[in-house]
Structures are given as structure tokens and as C-alpha cells.
């Protein structure tokens, strides 16, 4: 029995947006909670600097010493860190302890607000969190002189609304949020959001707990544009989720752990991240990934340098190393997400001829047309929408 259980648990504990972190983090918060709460009230000394982060002065010397990276689990290629160390002579302390944007923020905002070291010189939050951190004045800019491979970035990402010109956040991976389903279990192709509510799949559907990833495609299916969202529009989507939840249609609200339920047959249709599905398909060819007809959303995870960094130059060196196309191809081959660098086809084909033609790594134009990205929400909006969605997912 143990032998049957182990691989799946290991796979789960290593998956990208795993939810276990929530448990541990919550336990920590419940234990440590009061003291960090007490401190919350006092330290409100950060002034939001919307004008953009400062880049520390650079002496032009090569980076030396140690670089501490905090990244999502299963978001790295074998040998990549070692190759970086060999190429630069730097030492890397690579940790996969970034599990959830909101929880990471809840845990690290106190030290950051006091400008205390958070044990990482480079972290990889999703775009919206990077923008929030920058708004709070907690990020350093990324020096262009050390980030010479910035030219390889996809033009659409360079001009992103959340960080025009990419001053403080360097995209790491991009991905699609869509629906994954088990074709053998559904017995038909899934194309729309309405398919989620088919009584035949009662208790076999899962949605994301994350507000943006969970509600995005539902908002689009209701004809609500993501670009000028109001709480009324969000509430309409939340009401839909509540109705289906009360009917027993929705089995679970998940983080990355939907992957196990999908593989085990507990869930037949799940909101899913594209890269996960490519990896899951290796074990189960019946799994399909689709962007619903009414549209899906994209996410971009970004490398940022907290203003508490102890090695700015090394962090920039790392970003530049990642932005080298041959290096980056190795990362994409492993994570199976959508590249943030342009013209990756050749490099990907060098590793595996199938990679570049995989529609989940290199989406077709009609898929891309259906994808919307979230605009930069104001702090108040994020809070309000999170709260509205949590009334359904949290209870």
C-alpha cells in the first residue's frame, strides 16, 4: 500500500501551487498570529511609492557571494542552479518555499514593512503581488546594465500595464488558467463554463480558491469584462459559485492539489493551470486542457528583488542568466509552462522536437485570442473581491 501512495504524495508535495503550504502557514499564523497582529497596528510607516522603485547604486564590479532564491515548488530544471553557479562563481541557496501568493504576503509583510531580511534575495510572486509589493515600496529596481538579455522578453510582456518597461519585475513563466477534464470520464468534449454545471458531473467539479484564477473565467462567461470590474460584477460570479456549491455540484475548492483529484478520478472537470496538465498527461493521456469558449485567463509569475536583498547584483545576474534563450529552454522543458521569452522555437526543438509544437507550451492564435489577463486591481478592489469570494470558498 505504501508503495502505491508514495509517488502521488511526493508528486503532490512538489507541485507548484500546492495547498499544503496553506495548512502549515495557517498553523504558523494561528500560533504566531497574535504577536504579528499586535505589530500590525504599529508599523504603518511605509509610504506607497507608485513612481517606481529605486535601483541601488552599482559599483560595476562582478557579483560575488551568495544568492538566496525563494521559488515555487517544481519550477526549476535539474542542473540549472549548478550551471549558474559554474558560470558565475556565485553560491546559490535555492529554496522551494513559495507556495501561495496571499499566504507569502501574510507571512512576510511584517518583516518587509520594518525592512528586515526575509531570508531571500530574489522571489517569484505572481504579477499582481509584484505590483502590490512595488506599490508598498518594498522592491528594488532591476538594473538594465546587468540585465542585458532583457531584449529577449516577449514584447507584449515588456509593455504590461502592471509594470510598463519592466522596471521591477522580470517575468519568469506564463501560463493559462483553463479547464482540465478527463475525457474518458466525461464521455464528451468540454467547451463551455455551462458544462461545469452539467448534473452528470455533480460532485465531480473543482474550482480554484484563488480569487483571480477561480473567478476569472466565470466573470468572462457572464460577459463581465475584467478591465472595468465592479464589486457587483464580481458578486454575480460569486453568487453563481454559491448556487452551484449549495447544489453539491462543486466538490472542492483547490490550490494545485486539484491535480491529484483529477488523476485519482475524484474530479472529472477542474479549473487548472496549463503546465500542470502537460505534466499530468504523461501519466494519463485521457486528460485534456481547454480554454472555455467564453475565455480563460493568463497569469505571469515574475522574479522580483525585495528591498531587503543582501545581494542585488547576484539577483540581477540570475535574472540575466534565466533570460538567456538556451538556458530558458531548459526551464520550459521542465516546467512545461508558456515561455516569457520570444522566439523560443529553435531552442526548444533542440531539447525535444515535440516541445515547441505542444499547444499548451506554444498556444495557437485562436487560443491566445480567448485569453484575457487581469488588470492591475487597486488594493481596495483586491481586498473587496477576495473577501466576497472567501465567503463562498471559506465556508
Amino acid at each position: 500500500m505504501a508503495n502505491e501512495i508514495d509517488p502521488r504524495i511526493l508528486a503532490q508535495s512538489a507541485s507548484r501551487r500546492r495547498f499544503i503550504g496553506g495548512g502549515a502557514a495557517a498553523a504558523a499564523a494561528l500560533v504566531l498570529g497574535p504577536s504579528f497582529l499586535a505589530a500590525c497596528g504599529k508599523s504603518d510607516n511605509t509610504s506607497g511609492s507608485a513612481s517606481g522603485p529605486a535601483t541601488p547604486s552599482d559599483d560595476g564590479q562582478p557579483a560575488t557571494g551568495k544568492l538566496r532564491i525563494s521559488n515555487w515548488p517544481l519550477y526549476m530544471a535539474d542542473g540549472f542552479v549548478a550551471a549558474f553557479q559554474t558560470a558565475t562563481g556565485l553560491t546559490v541557496d535555492y529554496k522551494e518555499d513559495f507556495n501561495d501568493n496571499e499566504e507569502w504576503f501574510a507571512k512576510n509583510k511584517e518583516p518587509l514593512s520594518r525592512k528586515q531580511d526575509i531570508g531571500a534575495d530574489l522571489v517569484v510572486p505572481t504579477q499582481f503581488l509584484a505590483a502590490r509589493l512595488n506599490g508598498l515600496g518594498w522592491l528594488n529596481g532591476i538594473s538594465e546594465s546587468r540585465w542585458t538579455n532583457k531584449k529577449n522578453l516577449r514584447p507584449d510582456l515588456l509593455d504590461a500595464k502592471a509594470d510598463p518597461g519592466r522596471k521591477f519585475s522580470a517575468p519568469y513563466m506564463s501560463g493559462m488558467v483553463g479547464l482540465a477534464y478527463n475525457r474518458a470520464a466525461t464521455g464528451r468534449d468540454i467547451t463551455t463554463i455551462d458544462d461545469l454545471w452539467d448534473p452528470a458531473y455533480k460532485g465531480k467539479v473543482s474550482l480554484f480558491t484563488d480569487m483571480q484564477d477561480g473567478l476569472g473565467m466565470l466573470l468572462l462567461s457572464q460577459g463581465t469584462s475584467l478591465d472595468d470590474l465592479t464589486i457587483e460584477g464580481v458578486q454575480k460570479a460569486v453568487d453563481l459559485v454559491k448556487e452551484q456549491k449549495d447544489k453539491g455540484q462543486i466538490r472542492r475548492f483547490t490550490g494545485n492539489d486539484y491535480a491529484d483529484d483529477l488523476a485519482a478520478g475524484n474530479i472529472v472537470i477542474a479549473q487548472a493551470y496549463s503546465g500542470d496538465v502537460v505534466q499530468l498527461q504523461k501519466d494519463n493521456p485521457d486528460l485534456r486542457f481547454v480554454v472555455p469558449d467564453s475565455g480563460g485567463t493568463t497569469f505571469v509569475d515574475t522574479m522580483v528583488i525585495p528591498y531587503t536583498t543582501q545581494n542585488q547584483k547576484a539577483a540581477e545576474e540570475w535574472i540575466n542568466f534565466v533570460y538567456d534563450r538556451p538556458n530558458y529552454a531548459k526551464l520550459v522543458a521542465e516546467t512545461q509552462y508558456v515561455p516569457v521569452l520570444s522566439d523560443m522555437t529553435d531552442e526548444l526543438n533542440k531539447i525535444d522536437p515535440g516541445l515547441a509544437s505542444n499547444p499548451l507550451i506554444n498556444p495557437a492564435k485562436e487560443t491566445l485570442d480567448k485569453l484575457k489577463s487581469w488588470p492591475a486591481l487597486t488594493d481596495e478592489q483586491t481586498q473587496e473581491f477576495n473577501k466576497a469570494y472567501a465567503t463562498v470558498t471559506g465556508g
Binding site: C40, T46, N266
Partner: protein
């Protein structure tokens, strides 16, 4: 000479206080201070910026009203689940502890070891293992379906039963061990005496064994009930959207919504209800000492 004696006496009077000082200091720093802080938070209002909110202490009792009215279902559910798990633990653990204490002979240590062994594995892994065992396509569901105990589209995972089962499984060791200690302490001569007095097995159990095991039942119940009420891992992994417990709500309030006063108020409601429950239970069982 007299002076030395009196200072010795003084020192020996002080000694007990000195000895509990480290524990008191520990409790003060890690329990009382956070407790007071949490209490103040629960009565505060939030203002200022969204992500670095300013908490202002304001005797804001409406936090409690809101928490209770919004989440009464989850609170009641948590108590229902924890109570069910505690009763199940007593029913399962008592016979086991009895056998180990009285009947196991030279296998006593082996059996105790087997009881403790699963708990060498971390809590999360054990809970996740149940996900695999109870999976919809798994052999347990298939087997129960085949003999008609489960309707064709029935499931075990993501039900209240799975959550209660998970709570029972994860905390049962805290019932077995106190029960075993209580039973083990029972003087075998008392049992002989009750037989000599023509006590039947049933009367011996009711009049001798059970009353003497009561401290174990009480201690075990608390050790199972209290963590179960606040648990959120089992509901998260083994439950569904319909089985959220109050621990899940508090977790999300603290870490996602970041409504600290609401989360703190919920924590206090939970604590108060546990306290009242435990006091009533202790009184009902009429046990003065816990072990």
C-alpha cells in the same frame, strides 16, 4: 547558627516558586501576551491602508456578532464533527486499551508500539493517505458498492463521514494512551475482590473498571475534542465544499481575506465554546483529577 537555619527555611520556601518560574515565564510570554493581544485584536476596528492595516482598539463587539451570524453553520458543524470523533474514539479505544492493559501479557509493549507506530508518520501524509484509500475509483468504494452498501454514484471521500473518520483516526492515539494508563493503574486485586463478591463481568465493568477508568476517559476526550474542533486539515483534504469547519474559516480570514478582527473574534468564540463545553463535561463526569 539560628540565622543560617532560618535563611535555609526561607530558601526552601522560595524554592517551589523558583522552580515554577521558567514555566510561568514561558506561559506569560507565549500564552498570556498573545492571548491579550488576540483579545484586543478581536475588539478592534481596521483602518488605514489595505495591506498594512491599522488596528484600533475600540471595544467593537460587533466583530463577535458578525462572526457568529456569518459562520454559525461552520461553528455548529465543527462541534458536531468533534463530538462524533470523540465518541468514536472512546468506542474504538476503550476495548483496545482494555485488551492491552489486561489481556496482552507479554505482547503489551509490542501492541503499544503498534499503536504509536503510525504516528511516526507526519499528520499530513497520514491524512493524504486516506485520500488515496477512499478515492472514488478506489477499491474501498468499489467493494462497498459491489455489496450494495454504497449507492452506484455514492462516494466516501469529500463527505462528512470522511472528515469525522479522519479526525478520529488522527487523534485516537490521544484517547488510547490516557485510557491505557488509567486501566493499567487499576489494582488487579480489586477485580479479584469483585469476583469474590459474586460480581458478574458486566457489573464488574460498570462498578469497578469504568469508574476507575473515568479520569482516562475524561483526559482522552479533551485531548481528542479540543484539537478536533479547531482542526482544518481533515476538512480541507477529506471534506468537500459542504464540510468546512471553523478552522478553515479562521485560516482564510487570517491568510487570504486578512480580516484580523473577524479572525480573532472567531478564535475567541471557539475558545469560549470549548471552555464551556469542557467545564460542563468535567462536571457531568464528576471527576476531580484528570489522570
Amino acid at each position: 547558627m539560628a540565622g543560617v537555619a532560618s535563611s535555609n527555611r526561607q530558601r526552601s520556601k522560595l524554592a517551589p516558586y523558583l522552580m515554577i518560574l521558567p514555566a510561568l515565564a514561558y506561559l506569560g510570554v507565549f500564552y498570556v501576551v498573545p492571548f491579550v493581544s488576540l483579545f484586543r485584536t478581536s475588539l478592534s476596528t481596521m483602518g488605514g491602508s489595505v495591506y498594512m492595516p491599522k488596528l484600533t482598539f475600540a471595544w467593537n463587539f460587533s466583530n463577535y456578532g458578525d462572526a457568529l451570524s456569518l459562520y454559525k453553520d461552520q461553528i455548529l458543524r465543527s462541534f458536531g464533527y468533534a463530538l462524533s470523533a470523540t465518541v468514536l474514539c472512546i468506542l474504538l479505544a476503550f476495548p483496545l486499551a482494555y485488551v492491552i492493559a489486561f489481556k496482552a501479557g507479554r505482547y503489551k509493549n509490542l501492541l503499544l508500539g503498534l499503536v504509536i507506530l503510525p504516528f511516526f508518520v507526519t499528520f499530513l501524509i497520514r491524512t493524504l493517505a486516506w485520500k488515496t484509500i477512499l478515492a472514488d475509483d478506489g477499491w474501498v468504494v468499489g467493494g462497498l458498492g459491489a455489496i450494495g452498501l454504497l449507492p452506484p454514484d455514492g462516494r466516501l471521500l469529500s463527505t462528512s463521514w470522511a472528515v469525522i473518520g479522519g479526525l478520529t483516526y488522527n487523534w485516537i492515539i490521544f484517547m488510547i494512551l490516557p485510557l491505557y494508563v488509567s486501566l493499567e493503574k487499576i489494582d488487579a486485586r480489586l477485580l479479584e475482590a469483585s469476583r469474590d463478591l459474586y460480581g458478574t463481568n458486566r457489573r464488574m465493568f460498570g462498578k469497578v473498571i469504568l469508574p476507575l477508568a473515568m479520569p482516562g476517559v475524561l483526559a482522552g476526550s479533551m485531548l481528542v475534542f479540543i484539537p478536533s474542533v479547531g482542526d482544518f486539515i481533515n476538512a480541507d483534504y477529506l471534506g468537500s465544499t459542504q464540510t468546512k469547519m471553523i478552522g478553515n474559516v479562521i485560516q482564510r480570514q487570517f491568510l487570504v481575506v486578512k480580516d484580523y478582527p473577524a479572525a480573532a473574534a472567531l478564535s475567541f468564540v471557539l475558545m469560549a465554546m470549548i471552555l464551556v463545553g469542557v467545564l460542563l463535561y468535567t462536571r457531568a463526569l464528576g471527576t476531580e483529577d484528570l489522570v
